[in-house]
Structures are given as structure tokens and as C-alpha cells.
Amino acid sequence: PSSAQAADAKRAIFLANGTLGDKSFFDSAARGMQDAKAKYGDDLEIRIVEMGVDKSKWRSFLQDASEEDYDLVFTITFEIGELLAEIAQEYPDQNYVLIDGFLPEGAGDLQNIYSVVYKANEASYLAGVMAAGMLAEGTNVKGTHLGMLGAFDIPVINDFFLGYVTGAQSVKPDVKVAVSFAGSFEDAARGKELSLAQYRTGTAIGFNVAGLTGLGQLDAAKETGQWAIGVNSDQELIFRESDPALADRVVTSVMKNIDVTVARTIDLLFEDAVPLGQFEALGLKEGGVGIVKDGVMASVVSDDVKAKIDAAETAIINGDIVVESAFGKDTAEIEAIRTAVRP
């Protein structure tokens, strides 16, 4: 594809430290790359490379990309921050973007990395407000409590959980939330079975944070006539065409707008204004996270609850509410919170 490129085209590469097709952060970042490509055409050369799950190979991918004079090297997830910091020291002339990941302490003064994290807990808070609101009203829900399906008991996922729980508690202080972990990001059947178990024991609205496993929750919701909340991509849209009945069960999805960030960063690249050396935490205020409001939610959720969501959103944006984060909490603290809300 390189033949048609303008001679002074900008070059950007996205290194996925996993495989594409997760319907989550990797796909989202790739989408952002492609959106930018669509916008700039021949003035931009993009490359998307999967580094695979073998962590010992990531370094050599990063080194290679660093030696091939790209204008920007994009990487995402918490798993790669530390490695990126080392590489960035090794190649001080190369510029990098780290999305949805922290640089290790002490690496803050690296002037060739622009890093961004998302306050997923803020968007999850809104989802919690919505779910608890629906539950409190009780008009179109069957069940007594909320549920969540996670892939693993890990910080990124617990961050969603914590926001969800605190949001729900803000509406219904005694709300209960059942939590199950599947032990896999790829096992939709198991996701469905775990969700069925939750729905059958009183969960009215489930929230899945488990990649492809999580999609099983949607099928369980369809089968039992309960509600589901998606994550990281608009899960309603995945099935809107092919399975409307299933799509109708997805009230909303909690989004990290990685694609937006990627596309915006490429805009900045063309303006020569990438904020290298800076760290940004994108929350509701910055539009980095959010929930999908124009899908099923528009018709299913009452105006009253919608108002509550909007109020919470404003409060968070104004800084009146500071949502707790799971990052920095140890296992026992998280466990204590889970125990407190167990149905």
C-alpha cells in the first residue's frame, strides 16, 4: 500500500500487545487508527501490528518499531507501561503514545511519551446510577439486585466494579451486587452460564467486563428477559442488525473512547502538537469515557433515572463527586468491598 503515499506522509504504528478481535481496547484503538487514515488519506501511513500474548516478545516488536522512524508509536494497556518506559529511554529520539496505561513511577520525566489513562470508574459510576435507579423503580426489572461478570480478578476490571458499585450505592445505599469471574477473556459459553446463574438467583441487571466472555451475558439476558450492560464497545451495536432481540437487552455500554483518543492524537501529530512528556487522565469531563445514551437506554430508562444520571455526570465533571478507583487498592480492600455488597 505504500506506493501511493505522499513523500512527506506521517507514519504511525499501533502495536497491540495481544490479538485483535477483543471487541474491546485493541479493536477500539485499531478503529481510531483507521478513522484517522480515512481522514488523512495519503498523508498518513498507518500500520497495525499484533504482538501476540507472549510477553517475552513484546520488547523486540517495540525495538523494531523504534528503529523504523515512525512519527508516533501507539501502545495501549496497563501491561506495557513499564516496558515502554525502558524502550523510551533506549530510543530517546522516538516518540510514543501510551494509552490506557501508567508509566512506572520515576519515569515521569520521559519527554518522548505522551500517556493517557481513562477514568473508567467515572463512566461505570453512571452505569451504577442507572442500574440502581431502574432497580429502585422496579417497573421493568425482575430481580432484587445487580450483577457483574468479570474475566479475572484484576485491577482494570475491579476499577469498573468499584465505580459501578459506588454509583449504585449513591441511588440505593443498600444495593447488592453479585460478582463472578470467568477465568477467561474468550469463553462466551462460560460467560453465559455464569450470567444465567446470576440472573436466576435475583440479578436484574448485569454488567460485563470480560471481553468476548462477557458477550455471553447478553445471550443470558435475552434468554431470561433481564438486562445487560456492555463495556468498551457499544455491545448493542454488535448485534443490532443480526439479533435485534438480543440487542434490545443491552441497556447501555460503558465506553473508554480509545478510538477518539487515538484519532485526536493523530490530529495533534499533524499540528505538531502532541503533548509529549505529559500525562493525562481522561474522565467524563474530557470526554474520554462515557456511557451510551442513545440506544436502548433512551427508550427503556425513565426520565427520572436519566435525570439522576445527568446530575451525577455534572457532579463528577464539576468535581463535586470524586469516584473511588481500584488502582492502588490491595486485594483485601477490594475483597472487603465485594463482601459488603454480596447479595
Binding site: S3, S56, S60, E79, E82, F152, G328
Partner: protein, 351 residues
Amino acid sequence: MIRAAFASTAITAGFCLFVLLVVLVPVALLYPEPGEVLSRFLLGPFEKTRYMGNIVELATPSMLTALAVVLMFRCGAFNLGVEGSFFLGGLTTAAMVLWMPLPPLVGIPLALLAGAIVGSVVCGIPGIVKATTGASELVSSLMLNYAAVFIGLFVLNYYLRDPTAAMLSSDRFPAEYRFESLIPRTRIHIGSIVAVVACIIGAIYLNRTSQGLEVRISGTGNDFSRHLGLNSVALNIRIQVIGGMIAAFAGGIEMLGLYSRFTWQNTTGNGWTGVIVAIIARDNPILIIPAALFIGYLQVGGDLVSRAFGVPTEIVSLIQALVMICVTSVAIFQHPALRKFVQGDRGGAAQ
């Protein structure tokens, strides 16, 4: 004799290349510059010291896991627990490095040893279960692999986790515990030397020691070893424990060689690679070394074309799968014409 051995090695190598070409060419033709794709895949890995380093880095753990597999297979145990042993070995070594405040000179060997001991259970238990109950070690080791990962994750989450890290991982290892690179621009570390030496020791053990002979005899079935009065049950268990220790040791070495903290959330695949390498090496410890390097070479070549031309990693996996089958193809390797060529005029002498 030597001429024949050499010719056969040369033919094997040439043949691997041939198969690779046959599988690769159609894929390369899908791209605008097929010649470049080919040369990137085949020659790219030798372009930079760093790439050759990558080959060695990838081959290092699989040499050791393959050695473990070879020892167990040769003893007649079809144990696939190396994957789980590798994982637990890495985890335990990490835990020891973090928990035991000892000077590295003592601490590293101790940590590796502890890793080897704890990790050995994944291979050892199926061995013991087989000996006491007759249950297939193949299946119980496959199952224990999964169990090992989840139990390991439990330990990681509840006892080792660094709460300040944004991912599920242990604390950082103190810098002095990490292996240093032996060759600039690569991450080849002491573990690579250990792995090569281990394969050589493995070959000597199997072929040149009394116990190695017993292992080989036990591997041929029960009747002969019973006839000789060998305690092959005990030997079998011992070899599976040793196999587990080697695989777990490999996990520890990988951890200290290439990582700064424990971050595995699933098995790493090094055990399966070990099985593949062992089969390609035809259960011969010395041949493990070239076989592991060959598989490493395939991976690096594949990574290079996937980086440079956007060839999907899946295509690279397909190529690797086909090449693996072809290099173990008896129909091709023992084809009469090929044998005749290798053996010269040795044929008709068998009377």
C-alpha cells in the same frame, strides 16, 4: 558412519528450508512484493544481532522444556505437565526473589531451586497418580496445567500482588536479581548457556550413564525392565519429577532473564513449544538444540514479516503448523530414495 550422520543432518536442514519455501511462497504471492516477504522471513532473522538474539531468547526456554519432555517420553511417560510446571516455576522463583532478602549469589540459585521444587508437582503428581492408580498421566497432566495456572493466579492475587501496579503483577524484582545480558544489543542471558549445557548433560545422562540406560529400558515397556529387576515405577516417578523440575527451572530462568516482575496471567505456551521441539528432535537431547533454534527462527521470521508487511499473525501460525507436520513426516524423511542417497551403498548388505 560419520559421513552418513552428517549427510542426514544436512539433508534435514535442507529439507526444512524446502518445506518452508513451499508453504511460504503462496502466502508471499498475496503481497505486492513477494520476493521481499520471502527474504524477510528467511533471511531477516540473520539481519541484525538483535534478531539472532531473539531466536536464542525464544529457544532458551523451549530447549529446557523440550529436554524435560524428552526425558519423560524416553522413560515412557506421556506427561504434558511442562506447561504448568513452567508457570509455577516462574511464579515460585518470583516469590522467592521477592520474599527472601538474600544476596543474589545465594538468593538466585535458591529461588531457582525452590521454583524447580514447587513447579515439579505438576509433572510429578501425574507420575505418582499413574504409579499408584494407573490413571493416564497424559490426561491428569493436561488437567493439572489448568489447575496450576489458577492456583498460581490465586497466590499472585492474594499474596504477591503489587497494589500500586495497575496490572495484576508482583512487585518489581530487585535489579541485582535479574540476569544480565551477555551480548550487547540482545537479551541473551546466562540461561541460554545453561539450557545448552543442560541438553548436553541430558544426552550424556540418557546415553552414557547407568541410570540413563535404565530410563531407556523402562521406556520400552514394563516386561523387559521387570525381567531385569529394575524398579521402573520408582524410576518413572523420579524422571517425571525431574522433568517437572527442569521445566519449572526454565520458568524461573525465563522470569529472571526476561521479566522485571511476575505478570503471567495464563500459561505461556513454552511447554507446548517444548513438546513440539521434542518431537521434532525425535526425542534426542542433542537435537533439541537445533530444533529449538529452528522453531525460534520460524517465530522471528514470522514476526518480522508480520511487522514489515502486516502479514497477520494467524498466517504465520498456519505456516508454522504446516512446517511442523512436514519436518516430522516419516513418509518424506524415510523415503527409500532419500535413505539410499544418505546411506550411500549401505543398503543391500543386511543379510
